[in-house]
């Protein structure tokens, strides 16, 4: 219990620190007055405007004001859309989550079998090809792979649509989802393949696998039950931590495929200097990150008592 409270407090601290960084960055380094005020305003109008935004008050008062508003879910209105920034972000969130989860599943479903194969037969040519492919998966810039996917599957072959999003879980929706999900999954797929391969090589030498073999179980049962179950825990733990990375990286994929998610909104907002939306995106993403890390940490501690004990001692 002490461990849980400690971790929750640490997470809150991280959120506070990040809110300070974002606030100082956006409100102090960049001057919001400069962006909001047009050149033909009179000095009286400018003063009124500054007072309205609270920019005449000391910085720490402004920060507390920002925190109080943020706690109530008020992160300001978008300059471009005229709607609350938080609402805009939340409207786009399902699209991003759909994409991230699809990529997550794809990375597991493709990466684990490939990695297990490479782990069981480390010297076969196919395994070498798989490992070379995973290096490529790490090195290829995501946005360029996205372009190549569009070029091959949408332009040359005409199999799949290149941009936009269909309805959730319809044939059309899945067709639209396919290319962006593959694009976003590629990097994590390479990671899962490597983890699964390392795990399989290690598990294959363990006594319980030898024992299962000695018992005369079929090779497929040994691999699919005894090995798979034991490599699943580390792979899923690492992937859980990477879920936040998928959401952050979806910025790139969403821009390439014009996928109407949070990431595309962020890029549009940065380009149009729509600061409230940028701040709202950053706040939400940071909170999401911290929550994901917290959940994975707690789950990990629940599964592995050694972590709990070490933390309690520290």
């Amino acid at each position: 219990m002490v461990f849980v409270i400690r971790r929750v407090l640490q997470s809150l601290l991280v959120v506070l620190v990040m809110s300070l960084v974002v606030f100082v960055g956006v409100h102090v380094v960049g001057d919001p007055v400069h962006i909001l005020i047009s050149d033909d305003m009179t000095q009286a109008e400018i003063d009124r405007f500054i007072a309205k935004l609270g920019l005449d008050r000391p910085v720490h008062v402004q920060y507390l004001h920002f925190l109080a508003n943020a706690a109530r879910g008020d992160l300001g209105d978008s300059f471009v859309h005229g709607e609350p920034a938080l609402k805009l972000i939340l409207e786009r969130m399902p699209a991003t989550l759909e994409l991230a989860l699809a990529a997550f599943l794809l990375a597991i479903v493709v990466g684990i079998p490939l990695g297990m194969y490479a782990g069981l037969r480390p010297e076969s040519p196919a395994s070498h090809a798989i490992m070379a492919g995973s290096i490529l998966g790490f090195s290829l810039p995501t946005f360029w792979v996205g372009l190549m996917l569009i070029m091959v599957f949408a332009v040359m072959l005409g199999w799949l649509p290149s941009t936009g999003r269909g309805d959730f879980l319809t044939w059309d929706g899945l067709r639209h989802l396919a290319l962006p999900a593959i694009n976003l999954a590629l990097f994590k797929m390479a990671l899962v393949t490597r983890l699964a391969r390392a795990g399989t090589r290690e598990a294959a030498l363990q006594d319980y696998v030898k024992f299962a073999r000695a018992k005369g179980l079929s090779p497929s049962r040994v691999v699919l039950v005894h090995v798979l179950r034991n490599i699943l825990i580390p792979v899923v733990t690492v992937l859980g931590l990477e879920l936040g990375g998928l959401i952050a990286f979806s910025v790139v994929t969403e821009t390439v495929f014009a996928w109407p998610g949070m990431g595309k909104l962020l890029i549009d907002s940065i380009q149009r200097l729509d600061r409230p939306v940028v701040v709202a995106y950053l706040v939400i993403t940071v909170v999401m990150f911290v929550v994901i890390n917290l959940i994975v940490d707690l789950l990990y501690a629940a599964l592995d008592p050694r972590v709990r004990l070490r933390e309690a001692k520290a």
Partner: protein
């Protein structure tokens, strides 16, 4: 007569210095040799771009819209063959790639070097001083590294605004933490060794211990992280430029070239995006392969 034979016999085996031994080991792998040669070639291309390029793609007098979207292998109006085609404004893609490579490599390497110096200084300070300074620095490093690089870069670009200098600052701030963590880690190991203890016993000043004794012994991991981080920085800059929040249009890096070709791709004119992407990919891959090999060679503990 006999003296001559003797000198010849001595001259054959070159004196073995650590550098020679490492180089021999490095080039023992054909893959490493190939990627190193490729990397040297790429850097030469970037350095000599104005001499090698058939046209200056940003000299408006040399570029004509007549050549717009020429296919690879067609002859442009200036008389030379555009082997990689032309972009929407009639620029020869090969020339644009050479100039873009210059900017991509320049930004990546320059920000890498500054981040290396900054991160090394901070990492050494943390390891040597220890105590609250170490704890504070490592907390900041851990916090930053818990977020993906692309997110940190986007936050910084959103805060700092656009421009080549801003992108460089963002890249430096993204990278310093990797160097600081690596250097601190290896400096902590070295600090416990006897030669540092001996230096302390000789009452050498701390600056001498840090720079003359500690620093040379943490150079190996720094080189490895430096190579891999440079590849990372080039990729990150290309991504930011592609997203339209990186380098300005006046400094077209490979990422921007790829972004420019995007609109033409949907109508089947693949070459405007495809070839700059290949150049970017080959660059990143060759740096990564060289870095991997360096890690193998410089790490004596690693089993091979």
């Amino acid at each position: 007569m006999s003296a001559r034979v003797e000198t010849a016999a001595i001259a054959v085996p070159a004196p073995e210095t650590p550098l020679r031994r490492l180089a021999a080991e490095f080039f023992a792998s054909p893959l490493a040799l190939g990627s190193f040669a490729l990397l040297v070639l790429i850097i030469l291309f970037a350095l000599l771009a104005p001499l090698l390029a058939p046209q200056n793609p940003y000299d408006l007098a040399k570029v004509t819209v007549m050549d717009a979207r020429l296919e690879p292998g067609e002859r442009g109006s200036a008389g030379f063959v555009m082997w990689l085609g032309a972009d929407g404004a009639g620029r020869d893609m090969w020339s644009a790639i050479l100039y873009g490579l210059r900017i991509s490599l320049g930004v990546g390497i320059a920000s890498g070097i500054v981040a290396l110096i900054l991160g090394t200084a901070i990492g050494l300070a943390a390891a040597y001083r220890g105590g609250w300074l170490d704890a504070l620095i490592m907390r900041i490093v851990d916090l930053q590294l818990s977020f993906p690089a692309i997110l940190v870069a986007l936050i910084l670009v959103a805060i700092l605004g656009r421009g080549a200098d801003k992108v460089m600052i963002a890249l430096i701030l993204v990278q310093w933490a990797y160097y600081a963590r690596t250097v601190r880690g290896s400096a902590l190991v070295e600090r416990r060794k006897e030669y540092i203890e001996a230096a302390h016993c000789l009452a050498l000043p701390p600056s001498r211990i840090v720079f003359r004794h500690l620093l040379p012994n943490v150079v190996a991991p720094m080189i490895v992280v430096g190579t891999l981080q440079t590849a990372h920085a080039i990729s990150l800059e290309a991504t930011l430029s592609f997203l339209g929040v990186g380098l300005p249009l006046t400094e077209p890096s490979l990422g921007l070239l790829i972004a420019n070709g995007f609109e033409y791709m949907l109508s089947g004119r693949y070459w405007i995006s495809f070839y700059p992407g290949v150049a970017l990919l080959v660059t990143i891959m060759s740096i990564n392969l060289v870095g991997d090999r360096l890690r193998d060679v410089l790490n004596p503990r690693l089993e091979r």
